[in-house]
């Protein structure tokens, strides 16, 4: 059934933004405004990727996926690029995979930059008008709920953070 619908949508060759608007309505009705941000690849399920430059076809795929299958539509932001991945959220997608652990080791090195990166990603979701939830090692959390690493980083001085930890 869904393959037939996908073929019909493909044949109808709807205008990109019309297709996107349909998918976005369906996403809002089915999935609400929450976007799950996976910081690793531990969750099962396929993520849509786009290694080339053809963003147009990619967004059509995202919208068609939303219109033809229920459940989460997940974007591999690493291959798609963060800018286009964010745009995909308005074309029916509701999950992003950005394996930050790997990035943090290979690119950032330090924990502080990792926290900055996480906030940047949450900001990306919020500026698309959506609500972010972080999923890491299979555990889902609210991004505003601080982890011990963030507490150390956010404290005005490291001494204060140490006192906090001492209390705990």
């Amino acid at each position: 059934m869904s393959t037939l619908l996908a073929r019909a949508l493909d044949a109808a060759n709807l205008d990109l933004l019309l297709l996107g608007a349909l998918a976005d309505r369906m996403r809002a009705a089915e999935r609400g405004d929450v976007v799950r941000l996976h910081l690793d690849r531990s969750t099962e399920g396929e993520a849509l990727d786009n290694p080339g430059n053809d963003a147009h076809t990619f967004l059509r795929r995202v919208a068609t996926a939303r219109l033809t299958s229920g459940g989460p539509i997940r974007i591999d932001a690493e291959s798609v690029g963060l800018q286009l991945a964010q745009v995909a959220l308005t074309f029916g997608a509701d999950e992003l995979v950005v394996p930050i652990e790997k990035l943090s080791l290979e690119v950032f090195g330090t924990e502080e930059k990792r926290v900055l990166r996480e906030r940047e990603l949450v900001g990306l979701i919020r500026s698309a008008g959506r609500v972010a939830r972080i999923v890491e090692r299979g555990v889902e959390r609210d991004p505003d709920e601080t982890t011990p690493a963030q507490r150390r980083f956010r404290a005005p001085g490291r001494d204060v953070a140490r006192v906090d930890q001492g209390d705990a």
């Binding site: 933004l17 608007a21 976005d24 309505r25 430059n53 963003a55 500026s127 008008g129």
Partner: protein, 390 residues
């Protein structure tokens, strides 16, 4: 999802009414991005149908020595002799371009730092050398900020500077240096170069002398939506005046996404895809008197630029052999796209690729049929007509 204000604005757009500052601000704040994009696309298709333009251009920066200290810039080195500071002699500049310019190149785009130690004759000599080495390539050189600097530094009026450069071979002005006009922002990011009013004055004078120019806006740093709206309205006002005069005018508006690496504002997050598309769409709707809107792929990545063609943009700029200003901000964008890359990008977006020259004369059309390999397109450099040979 779309707001009531949006519906009222849609009615105005469809009735051909001009949008107010309040309308523009409401559009920037409209939550329904795709509805906004679709409205901008209506205007885009009215003006240009399915056509999407690109050109073959080569860029040159003859010096990155610059006395201005803009916080957003990763390109300029402040003084001669600093590590990485480069100033090319005229023969070296021509030599540097030889590898980038071929017989199909229709434009040479030259922008530079504000070098306090060169004589004015250097720039005249550069233009004459470009004209003699590459007579087929249109010379789009020097931003309004440079022209303003020349006037101050060499003690001439803006008009005198322009007249001398035109006599030496200048054919149009690029749109750079506009940043954000509003002084609340400009004094904080670019305090020691042409003000917004001075930038506009240079373009006004250029238009009066019959030159075509472009305009840009650097967004996504410390400015608010209100500052962007102010910027767009000032350009619309300038264009009204220039159109009334009927000589030169703004040909294209190019929003430039701020990129935060390697400059004084690197703690800022930079722009997002959604913001890039939103800014294109609002620009298309507000700048009703500017013909072309460019989704500059170097600034917004080729992927977002391609989607921009559905959000109001009708141009993706050029092949840009060698660009060093954005690359200095460590952008991941490829340095140059080939003609094939651009044609494919545009076709995949469902548009018809039109190769243009700087003044938007058609150099070659690449009809969709060619995608299937049924036709070969014969490109004619100066021709305006499509030639399809089977």
């Amino acid at each position: 999802m779309r707001s009531a204000a949006f519906n009222a604005i849609s009615d105005k757009v469809r009735a051909g009414e001009r949008l107010t500052a309040g309308d523009a601000l409401a559009l920037f704040e409209e939550p329904d991005l795709l509805a906004l994009g679709a409205l901008a696309n209506e205007v885009r298709e009215q003006k240009h149908g399915d056509r999407a333009y690109f050109n073959r251009n080569a860029r040159l920066e003859v010096t990155n020595v610059c006395y201005a200290s803009c916080n957003f810039c990763s390109f300029a080195k402040l003084e001669e002799g600093m590590p990485g500071a480069v100033t090319l002699t005229v023969p070296r500049a021509i030599e540097a371009l030889r590898s980038k310019v071929d017989e199909h190149t229709t434009e040479v785009h030259v922008v530079n730092g504000l070098h306090p130690g060169l004589p004015f004759e250097y720039y005249e000599e550069l233009l004459r050398a470009l004209a003699s080495a590459f007579p087929h390539a249109h010379r789009k050189c020097f931003t309004a900020v440079e022209i303003h600097f020349f006037a101050q530094h060499y003690r001439m009026s803006v008009r005198q500077v322009l007249e001398r450069l035109i006599a030496a071979g200048l054919q149009s002005l690029p749109g750079g240096g506009a940043e954000i006009f509003h002084p609340e922002v400009r004094t904080r990011i670019a305090h020691d170069k042409a003000t917004g009013d001075e930038w506009i004055a240079v373009h006004r004078e250029s238009h009066a002398l019959g030159l075509m120019t472009n305009a840009t806006m650097l967004y996504g740093h410390i400015e608010t939506f209100a500052h962007r709206v102010d910027h767009l309205l000032r350009l619309r006002e300038l264009q009204d005046e220039s159109l009334k005069l009927g000589k030169g005018r703004l040909q294209a508006f190019i929003p430039l996404a701020f990129h935060p690496d390697g400059n004084g504002m690197q703690k800022l997050p930079g722009t997002t895809g959604v913001d890039d598309l939103r800014t294109l769409a609002v620009s298309r709707l507000v700048l009703d008197n500017v013909e072309h809107l460019k989704a500059y792929w170097v600034s917004s990545t080729p992927k977002v630029a391609q989607i921009g063609l559905s959000f109001g943009a009708d141009d993706v700029d050029g092949t840009i052999v060698s660009e060093t200003i954005y690359s200095a901000a460590n952008k991941k964008a490829p340095e140059g796209l080939t003609v094939d890359d651009l044609v494919r990008l545009i076709r995949e977006a469902g548009r018809i690729p039109i190769e243009r020259d700087t003044l938007y004369n058609v150099v070659a059309e690449h009809p969709r049929a060619a995608l299937e390999g049924q036709f070969k397109v014969r490109e004619r450099l100066q021709g305006r007509h499509l030639q399809v040979v089977s």
